[in-house]
């Protein structure tokens, strides 16, 4: 039962996404008529599935919502902005009801009733009897508490087969297959003729006759499969259990049908199947047997834990490959062409497998971006500011884990942008801006990372005010020498905003420290760029995966450490003319027309220091585009390393983002170049700003 419910809710997510998408399209006065049909179908499917689980509130609301949509699709109601707004709110409410049902929580009944009253008023205006035809009596699907079927349920297997021409041409006879199936138990054979065309369209080479064979009793799927052992590549075959199909087929509500799908030629009881929204049927009605001719673009649902397990195993494979490489080196075989070629092949293969698994886990950011439309609408309503959301790069893919964990930070950033980033309509007008503010949510892949930006076209950060608040709260020393970007960073300090500044919606600064922490937990960074009068942009830079990174293996005072390759710009062994002393201990590197600070990583990590004149310099650039040169003892390899969380297994180490296991089994720390660069400053304010950037 739980499995079916969960499946329903997963499908609901997809339907709600389609619904929200469709409603946005309907904001265009010239929207395609098919859009409203699709929106209607989404609501109807949710209603159908909810009825099966006796989710009465959800069904009742979906029904009223659907009735309004029906008026629109039958041209009995126009769609002025206030109706579109009501549809959006109804969609949000439907989403809330689904969420409540999923969590077995009580919905906000007053809110639901309020919306129902609004819907009813419109529906009744059009037709006073429109809604009286609906007498909902939920028909509950009783799957039982345990996976085992109820004792009264019929047990057995349903086989559906449609032979291809190949089967006949190879001299096989379906009659023999039917006879073999009959031997497995008490079988009833039904010939399916629906897909057979008229004589004028019929062709011997395109056979369409199929059979549905119900075999009662304790027959196993394996037995059935053995019947088709030698012909399974020349017939369309599906095998499912009777007890799985029975409840869904027999008991789903039949009223108010919406026929979206043409009847399948191989399925016998077609009418109920067509009515069943895909939300309930899948685990039961979906054949468990292999379809020998899979449709193009066919998909399967796989538990995330299985993909995670696969990813972990690939991580181990990368480590083992590194170990093997080490052993080969030790044995002096590393110059043997055969060994090198073999090792390269394994490395290539491991990389390909890893990329494939990452592709499985990758999902478009659209899933998060679409949810932000609602957040924006609510924020706009709460503040009374007219605002629109522009999304760019929705198809940019990131790891599924990140998708889920990006929702909260982005929600907070959008609310902040509406509440504090944008001016009110009058102020905007006075400043010569359009009354309607614009929030732009964009995503793109950039230098091996995913960059997400939330931009507003508001007034920009009021830096004197930010500075004043920070001084008043003792977060920085009065008169601290801070650059504009360092002042912006103060917004990320915990407790930056005072409580009396917190609006009902958000407070700029309140929660931004949480946003930063959440993004950092994903291995990402948050940066701010603000221009007075023009607006503010929050940028989030995220790694593509949380599992593996391409790293440069460096030597530091007898230790091996890993520097993420994405941060590295170049490596060099400088001659004296490139080095310039500053003060007692510091040095600058002349590099490409700039003077950039040299950071001795041995000193940073408290290791035996490298010679000032020797060693290697690695020029790195942080996400906030600050450059520095790291002095290290040496560089000896570049390879993929598996990321192991240090915080989970040990604790937080400044300047270190994670750890990895090397080929010799030793642990190496993965350096966080961003944090090291930003911790350069010894000024208190700067240090605080740097801390705000780096946790």
């Amino acid at each position: 039962m739980d499995e079916f419910r969960e499946m329903f809710f997963v499908e609901c997510d997809e339907l709600l996404e389609g619904l929200a998408n469709g409603l946005r399209k309907m904001e265009d006065p010239d929207f395609d008529k098919e859009t409203v049909h699709a929106v209607f179908r989404a609501v109807h499917s949710i209603k159908g599935g909810a009825a099966a689980f006796a989710l009465t509130t959800l069904v009742t609301f979906a029904h009223r919502f659907e009735t309004l949509l029906d008026l629109i699709r039958s041209d009995r109601m126009d769609t002025p902005p206030q109706i579109i707004a009501l549809l959006h709110r109804s969609s949000d409410c439907l989403s809330d009801l689904v969420m409540s049902a999923r969590q077995s929580a009580e919905p906000d009944q007053a809110h639901v009733d309020g919306l129902l009253a609004e819907l009813d008023a419109l529906i009744e205006d059009d037709d006073p009897v429109a809604d009286t035809s609906f007498e909902f009596t939920p028909i509950v699907l009783d799957f039982g508490d345990a996976p085992t079927p109820a004792p009264t349920a019929e047990e057995g297997i349903i086989v559906r087969m449609t032979p291809n021409f190949e089967l006949y041409r190879s001299g096989n006879d379906p009659l023999a297959l039917l006879a073999a199936l009959r031997k497995l138990g008490d079988a009833t054979v039904e010939l399916n003729v629906d897909a057979v065309p008229r004589l004028e369209d019929w062709a011997l080479e395109r056979p369409q006759l199929g059979w549905t064979v119900r075999i009662s009793g304790a027959v196993s799927e394996l037995d059935v499969r053995s019947v088709f052992e030698f012909v399974d590549d020349c017939c369309r075959l599906s095998i499912s259990r009777i007890e799985e199909e029975q409840p869904v087929m027999a008991q789903l509500p039949m009223a108010d049908p919406v026929m979206d799908t043409p009847p399948s030629p191989t399925s016998a009881p077609q009418a109920p199947v067509a009515e069943v929204p895909p939300v309930v049927a899948p685990p039961a009605a979906r054949p468990s047997g292999a379809v020998t001719e899979p449709a193009q673009g066919a998909t399967i649902r796989v538990g995330l834990d299985r993909v995670d397990r696969l990813m972990n195993m690939i991580g181990e494979l990368v480590i083992k490959e590194a170990m093997l490489s080490q052993v080969i080196q030790t044995a002096g075989l590393h110059e043997s062409p055969d060994v090198v070629a073999g090792l390269d092949s394994i490395r290539q293969l491991a990389g390909d497998i890893q990329e494939s698994v990452m592709a499985i886990r990758a999902q478009p950011l659209k899933l998060v971006f679409q949810r932000m439309h609602r957040i924006l609408r609510e924020a706009a309503d709460a503040t009374g500011k007219p605002v629109r959301l522009v999304t760019i790069g929705e198809q940019t893919e990131v790891d599924k884990t990140m998708i889920e964990r990006l929702v909260d930070p982005l929600t907070h950033m959008i609310r902040n942008s509406v509440d504090h980033g944008l001016e009110d309509a009058l102020t905007r007008q006075r400043r010569g801006k359009p009354q309607e503010g614009t929030i732009t949510l964009s995503a793109a892949h950039r230098s091996g990372r995913v960059q997400i930006e939330v931009s507003d076209d508001g007034g920009g950060i009021n830096r004197p005010k930010v500075r004043q608040i920070a001084e008043d709260k003792g977060l920085i020393a009065p008169g601290s020498n801070l650059t504009p970007s360092e002042i912006d960073q103060l917004l990320f300090l915990p407790g930056f905003s005072s409580k009396d500044e917190v609006s009902a919606l958000s407070g700029r600064g309140v929660g931004l420290d949480v946003v930063r922490r959440e993004i950092m937990a994903l291995g990402g960074r948050v940066m701010i760029d603000s221009v007075e009068g023009k607006g503010t942009t929050f940028s989030i830079a995220l790694p593509l995966t949380l599992a593996v990174l391409e790293g440069m293996l460096i030597q530091l005072g007898g230790q091996t450490m890993v520097l993420p390759i994405t941060a590295v710009q170049e490596t060099l062994q400088p001659d004296r003319s490139m080095l310039h002393g500053v003060g007692k201990d510091s040095q600058l590197l002349a590099n490409r027309g700039d003077l950039i600070p040299i950071i001795d990583l041995c000193q940073t990590f408290g290791l035996d220091e490298a010679e000032k004149e020797g060693g290697v310099l690695i020029v790195v650039e942080s996400d906030s585009r600050k450059r520095a040169a790291f002095r290290v003892d040496g560089i000896f390899d570049q390879r993929q390393v598996v990321i192991k969380s240090l915080e989970q297994n040990y604790g937080r180490v400044p300047g270190v983002s994670a750890a990895t296991i090397l080929g010799d089994g030793k642990i190496a720390l993965i350096i966080d170049p961003e944090e090291i660069i930003l911790s350069l400053s010894n000024d208190h304010g700067r240090h605080m700003a740097a801390m705000a950037s780096n946790g």
């Binding site: 032979p163 006949y168 006879d173 379906p174 009659l175 039917l178 006879a179 009833t188 054979v189 039904e190 010939l191 003729v193 057979v196 065309p197 008229r198 004589l199 004028e200 369209d201 019929w202 011997l204 056979p207 369409q208 006759l209 059979w211 064979v213």
Partner: protein, 91 residues
Amino acid sequence: MHALPLPETFDRKAVALFAQTLIDHRGKDAVLDAASVSRIGVPAVELLVAARKQWLADGRSLQVRNPSAAFLATLDDFGASLDLLQAEAPA
């Protein structure tokens, strides 16, 4: 009405030929004589199902007469019945 005799061995080879015979008789009521059928395969049954659909669409009747025991037994094995092969002309 002239009855069209179904082939004694109504296998795949015979189906191609008999399909043309049926096409030639489209638009008219037709009777199929199944008395001599000793063996009938799936393609033949499918052809007869397609013919029934055609005759129904054309508003003509299609009857199967004198089905042999082998013919009926095979239909039964296929989970089919004579009704799937016959069409009544609308009154």
